[in-house]
Amino acid sequence: MNDMSAAKMNEPLKPADFATDQEVRWCPGCGDYAILKCMQRTLPDLGVTRENTVFVSGIGCSSRFPYYMNTYGFHTIHGRAPAIATGLKLANNDLDVWVVTGDGDGLSIGGNHLMHALRRNVDLKILLFNNKIYGLTKGQYSPTSDVGTRSPSTPDGSLDPSLDPISFALGANAPFVARTVDTAQKHMPIVFTRAHQFKGTAFVEILQNCIVYNDDVWAKVTDKASAPDHQLHLEHGKPMLFGKDNEKGIRFNPATFSLEVVTLGNGVDLEHIQVHDETSLPLAQMVARLGHKEGEPVAMGVIYAAPRGETYTEAVLGRVASAKGRRSLQDIMKAGETWVVE
């Protein structure tokens, strides 16, 4: 491995360079494979090195991800990846730290750590694989499961209203929020790249199919036929159009104070269509919830991106750096009231 890396020093890295020799242990057909491949394809284009890239994960099928990335990796404990990654950044802010988590890992047991990593703006790149189910523990419902989900722990269907990861992240004061889907091999790299380039915490929800325990939960959004009507591809500064021929759009209705789906024509012009402004939090909050109602598309891409200047880690470490060396420990111990015994 040493020789290999030495030899390749000056060659650009290839996707294969980011793959480990460990056998991938997901179910055949699992959406996680596509995400893995995509990440392995995207990293070389980002010009990053293996040694400065770290994947930190919790526990779950999704959290197996680090084992398959030939970078540094830490498969931690359930729900705690954001906290561990925060410490890692505070030890070495030069590292590119990706957090991989699931809807259970990140929003059930780990909701609090995720929330605080988001609001602190720790400069982590957080990927939440949302399959709306606990895969690894064999299919119990999760906080993102639709009401009525039948699972081993809810044989008659689940009753608790679910959580929307994007709304949650925005409520938690996250500065960058995006969404993509495991089937979108072209879209994922764009979102990963934007997340990577963003200065600050980036949160990406990846809609992911669990073929074994929650197959087709995203089918409407991902099926070739229905996708155009169910995916809204956001672009900053562009009107929010969707549909096979971009014949539909999103309009803000001041009367209902909400976004609504309209079809172009019959008096509805392009100028009525809401233009995406990824720096607007109120807009992001509305866009986030598109798809909750029948007929609405699910927003894909960068929903919100509002850089905040210095990241938390920069600020903390900056303070330490500027104070460093001012006094030695010996100085500190000797400061204050002392006396000499002779």
């Binding site: 040493n2 400065n52 930190v56 084992y67 410490g87 030890a91 330490v320 006396w339 015994v341």
Partner: protein, 615 residues
């Protein structure tokens, strides 16, 4: 003319008053001045759980005790010789401890019906004559203070706040201490409010002058306590929290690492967070996490990244960290976990002291999950104990539990400032080359069994770790039964092997063999020490061993105990070290326990020794 000065070997003074009376501050200043006079000393701040309980209530009483002397001082003293009671509630809750014949100073200005009732007195105890066992000194401190500061134009409330300085002045006079250190300190503290500085100094002087007043010299005695003979050197007072913080920083320096300290506030552990938060000049990064789990996880993440991850809490918080400590054990990363023990179970008695987290430290995790446990035994000792915790953590790639307690954390004692250049470094050597066969994070040092440590950022050493069992041979995930056995054994052997890398257990006092060995750990050091001293003086064949390394024990401990007919284990818990000793050595270690949230008194242990020896 001042009263005749009586020479004493040592004295115990307790200041007790309302939370708002500034007793901790008074005690602190008395301590500083006393330390500067060269006495040895020990202090015990005992404050209420409430931030500021309503004025005059018994649960709002705040006390500060100091034992100081011309001899080595090991404890804060069983019973005060002098009690200052600033109000009825303070009298009510503290009088029971005053030794009979002791000096009792009361501020009569506060003994009004309302305060008496709040304190639960039916009648004024001063008038009732129930205080005749003590040398009662009645002073209307409130009134005298108001008079002393009346020229400074303070409001009544502000003026009364100077009462503590008046009282301190009187006590400084009583123990022949200098006022300058306090005056200097007041000037510095109130540099932005010179009137306040002046008023406080005036009150201080007035209290002092009051002592000097001839007419009172009959009742008011004056004492002199000479300097203790100490090793030459530069001294200061330290609290346990300071010393442990500095020890962590020193340990990290010796290891060549930066400290990343992840914590979440909790009594009585918070002062470590506060101290380290002010040490950025030493590269210390502090992270106040969202909870204890995040705190330990961040520390572990930092260790993974090549810093020295340290976390700190007290019982309930340590309970929450258990799962993550297991991850540190499984991934074999260095980590120091400081536990400032307090009264339990559950929320328990947050501001009181106890040693009841030893079980949790040694056994409190899922799976077979051993880790080294090191205990501090006094404020100053925290420094070296913390360095040892750091050393073991990095040398053996393991989390280390460092036990201290609420008493040690808050208590102060004179401390010879160590010369850092005399400490042997234990610099970490990160692996920077993958080696022939590629990098294997679980390749081990043959002697220590510590694994290979390469950190992110090191080209060629990319690797993955996690909490699933790993192959002994390759470091990859392994579900192989024989491998799990081997790894479990290896983890256990690694920790057990530390027994050969720590100092042999010594006998602190007494002979190497005898009738009774008193085995202690942690903050019971002082009272055990004094009790054994007394017992030896009584001719009893007793010795004292104080264990710093609770897991693994020093290699010679078993043999050492064999030299004694009986083993007694005083602990501020229901008998936890006793369990470990009995299990390890099959020795009939007898528990001697106290679980009241208060430190042992010397006499309690002495009585225990006598009882065991039928003396």
């Amino acid at each position: 003319m001042s009263a005749e000065i009586q020479h004493l070997e040592s004295a115990v003074v307790r200041f007790a008053g309302d939370s708002g009376d500034g007793m901790q501050l008074t005690g602190g200043r008395f301590t500083a001045t006393t330390a500067l006079s060269g006495n040895d000393l020990a202090t015990f701040p005992d404050f209420p759980a409430e931030i500021r309980a309503p004025v005059g209530t018994t649960f709002g009483v705040s006390a500060f005790q100091i034992n100081f002397g011309a001899k080595a001082i090991m404890t804060v003293g069983d019973r005060p010789d002098v009690l200052v009671a600033m109000n009825p509630a303070a009298l009510k809750t503290n009088l029971g401890d005053l030794r009979s014949g002791g000096v009792l100073v009361v501020d009569t200005g506060t003994f009004n019906p309302r305060n008496l009732q709040k304190a639960g007195y039916d009648a004024d105890p001063i008038e009732a004559g129930t205080l005749k066992d003590y040398q009662l000194i009645e002073i209307d401190i409130s009134k005298l203070t108001l008079e002393a500061v009346k020229d400074f134009g303070l409001g009544n409330k502000e003026a009364l706040r100077c009462k503590n300085m008046w009282t301190l002045g009187l006590m400084l006079w009583m123990f022949s201490r200098k006022r300058e250190p306090v005056t200097n300190w007041l000037q510095k503290k109130f540099s932005k409010a010179p009137t306040l500085a002046d008023a406080n100094i005036a009150a201080l002087n007035a209290g002092h002058a009051f002592g000097e007043t001839a007419e009172l010299s009959a009742t008011l005695k004056r004492y002199q306590i000479d300097a203790v003979k100490s090793e030459p050197g530069l001294y200061r007072t330290v609290t346990g929290s300071q010393a442990i913080s500095w020890g962590i920083v020193a340990g990290a320096e010796l290891a060549g690492l930066n400290v990343m300290f992840g914590s979440y506030p909790i009594t009585p552990a918070s002062p470590v967070l506060h101290t380290l938060s002010g040490m950025k000049e030493l590269g210390v990064v502090t992270f106040q996490a969202e909870d204890e789990i995040a705190a330990v996880c961040a520390a572990l993440g930092a260790s993974y990244g090549g810093a020295l991850g340290v976390t700190s809490s007290s019982g309930p918080g340590i309970a929450l960290k258990g799962e993550a400590i297991g991850l540190a054990i499984s991934t074999e990363l260095p980590l120091v976990i400081i536990n400032s023990q307090r009264g339990g179970p559950s929320t328990g008695l947050p501001t009181k002291t106890e040693q009841s987290d030893l079980y949790q430290a040694i056994y409190g995790r899922n799976g077979d999950a051993p880790l080294p446990v090191v205990a501090t035994s006094s404020p100053g000792d925290c420094f070296d104990a913390a360095i040892e915790a750091c050393r073991l953590a990095v040398k053996y790639m393991t989390p280390v539990m460092l036990l201290t307690d609420g008493f040690i954390a808050n208590a102060a004692e004179p401390w010879k400032i160590p010369d850092l250049s005399t400490y042997a470094p234990f610099k970490v050597q990160f692996v920077t080359e993958p080696g022939e066969a590629g990098f294997n994070p679980f390749k081990r040092d043959e002697k220590t069994l510590a694994r290979n440590w390469a950190i992110p950022g090191t080209p060629g050493c990319e690797h993955r770790i996690g909490g699933i069992e790993k192959s002994f041979a390759t470091g990859h995930i392994s579900y192989d039964p024989a491998n799990h056995q081997k790894m479990t054994d290896t983890r256990a052997n690694k920790i057990a092997g530390i027994a050969n890398d720590i100092p042999a257990q010594t006998i602190d006092q007494g002979e190497a063999t005898g009738d009774l060995l008193v085995v202690g750990w942690g903050s019971t050091y002082g009272p055990i020490s004094e009790a054994v001293r007394c017992a030896l003086a009584e001719g009893l064949k007793v010795s004292h061993a104080h264990i710093r390394y609770l897991n693994p024990f020093p290699a010679n401990l078993g043999d050492l105990m064999k030299g004694f007919k009986q083993i007694m284990v005083p602990e501020m818990n229901h008998g936890q070290l006793k369990t470990v000793l009995r299990d390890t050595y099959l020795v009939d270690a007898k528990p001697f326990t106290k679980v009241s949230g208060q430190p042992f008194k010397i006499v309690e242990i002495l009585d225990g020794i006598r009882a065991m020896l039928g003396a």
